[in-house]
Amino acid sequence: MAKMNLLQAINSALDLAMAKNDKVSVFGEDVGHFGGVFRATSGLQEKYGRNRCFNTPLVEQGIIGFANGLASQGSLPVAEIQFGDYIFPAFDQIVNETAKFRYRSGNEFNVGGLTIRTPYGGGIHGGHYHSQSPEAYFAHTPGLKIVIPRNPYEAKGLLLSSIFDPNPVLFMEPKRMYRAAVGEVPEEEYYIPLGKADVVKEGSDITLVGWGAQIEVIEKAVELAEKDGVNCEIIDLRSILPWDADAVVESVMKTGRLVISQEAPHTGAFGSEVAATVQERAFLYLESPIMRVSGLDTPYPLAHEKEYMADHLKTYEAIKRSLNY
């Protein structure tokens, strides 16, 4: 095993996928020789040529439209949108085209080979337009899969699964963790199944649910809570579409309490879906109301970033509120 940061793990997954199948190609703004603004595609053009790793013009709707067409032709495109905040010009292509391609054609055609990679999330002083967590918009779209890894090991295994999954996948990378998260990552290929949550830590008193970079925040909050003698269970959803409701419901049936911690603004965030499902399926097991810790319902601010974020202290307080209800 090698030590890799999250970017190196992504790069390794792309490298292995391209080596394994020559129908895999990687493209987007600045991803060619330069290797992407975060360097996730470093070295791939040199290794696989300009036909399989290349720059596109600066047009997100074009990148995804192009990728849809290429996937429908039978290729396995991995399209990069430089920041999740800039994915919205491609919203129509993703929501009306990618997601409905197979269904609307009666399976005559599909874009199952498509993977869209995009960095998301805050904590990097990125202000309004380099910080957002737009996953909930896409989670409302039947036909997409949405995958969000929490660390380098998860990132590589989940990205490889996403690239070879026979459905289009939106793969959202926690950019705050790109270089900050370093861990043991196998150099060979391995696959982590999509749609299956991971119990990061078992516990008996309360369940904490999150995804992506927020798992690190939850872990810090849990450290504080455990000093108070609270035994916490942490679940990383890994995929939010489709999501592993069974794993969360089972955990809540055991602990009786649930805190969801998420980066996105509060109203209509994916945590609302988790909360609604859990109260439907485990109402009589709940010892206290389900708590949601989220960003504020404001655009993502710059100077007040720390105050805005759903940090470990806010999550810790939610744990206490749940226990002391």
């Binding site: 596109t56 074009g62 439209g65 429908s72 010009p89 129509d92 085209e97 391609f101 269904y103 489709p242």
Partner: protein
Amino acid sequence: MATQTTKQPDVVTSVEVIDGNALRIPMFQLLDKDGTPHKDVKLPEIDKELALKMFSTMQFIRVLDERMIAAQRQGRISFYLSSLGEEAASIGSAAALKFEDMIMGQYREQGSLAFRGFTVEQFMNQLFSNAKDLGKGRQMPVHYGCADLNFMTISSPLGTQIPQATGYAFGQKQAGEGHCTLVYFGEGAASEGDFHAGMNMAAVLKVPAIFFCRNNGYAISTPISEQLAGDGIAPRGVGYGMKTIRVDGNDILAVYAATQEARRLAVEENEPVLIEAMSYRMAGHSTSDDPTGYRTREEENAWRDKCPLKRFRNFLLAKGWINEEDADAQQQEVKEAVLAELKKAEQVPVPHIDEIINDVYDTPTQQLKEQLEALKAHVRQYPDAYPKTSEGVK
């Protein structure tokens, strides 16, 4: 490493303003409006068999459109889009392609699909959203698609197919089998961002794609004068650094020749090509539209005089490849075939309710299976409220 390759401009020392209409692109035409070839023109090499196939497809589409508008008026189908007046543009371009080339339509190219071999029965099954529809009854009438015929399933959002064609063609170039993609869109859809995106990317990435604009003068009720300034769509191709042809869309021989040359450029030289076919939407936008509210009878009549079917028919008559009697007889046969298949298709039930969750993903998710079971239990409880599917869930 790539380098900056845009040519450095020449220098001038006084302000030079280029007029927005500086580029006036002429229209390629072989037949006059009566079907007589212009003097000394080189006609494309089309044998009798192909010419008759093009002609019979034109006749079929005219009958199909007329018959299905009537069916909509009778309440038998919910919606229809006629291609009246634009048959030469779609059929002439499809005829110039190889069968393996991909066609991506907007929604007014039933002629291309018929030319590829989509049967009357297949048309009817889609229009009636029945269990035999290849699209499983999921989309509105006219949203055809057929993998076996290399005709991409149509979607309603305008222009989305344009960058997709660029991507598809890129894949064809990678595969190296000498195939290309032809994508249709209207002059209205060319205002969408996806047009710019797809054209620019195709020109930069050098893909074998043909961008075929049917300039029919109207986007629903909006005339071209309120759609764009400048000389139509063709000059935009030049702006993207793309080879461009403007052709008379009502002259099927010119459309054929233009598309043949575009295909050669696309496949042999990896040069994408923009074709702007000048035509006129003789029909309303759809059965939900009434053109008398926004255009004059005189304008329509002027274009009726340029009818593409009449023009090609005259050409074939003069050539001696058809005679009046046979042509009329064929039209009558097609009418009967359409009517017979229509009656059959409307008797075919809707797809089974289980199809509602298929094809969202390659296999239904747990959530979808649970939702289907709940739905079926509900239909069983209130069978009369869901008469089209209740039989199937007993």
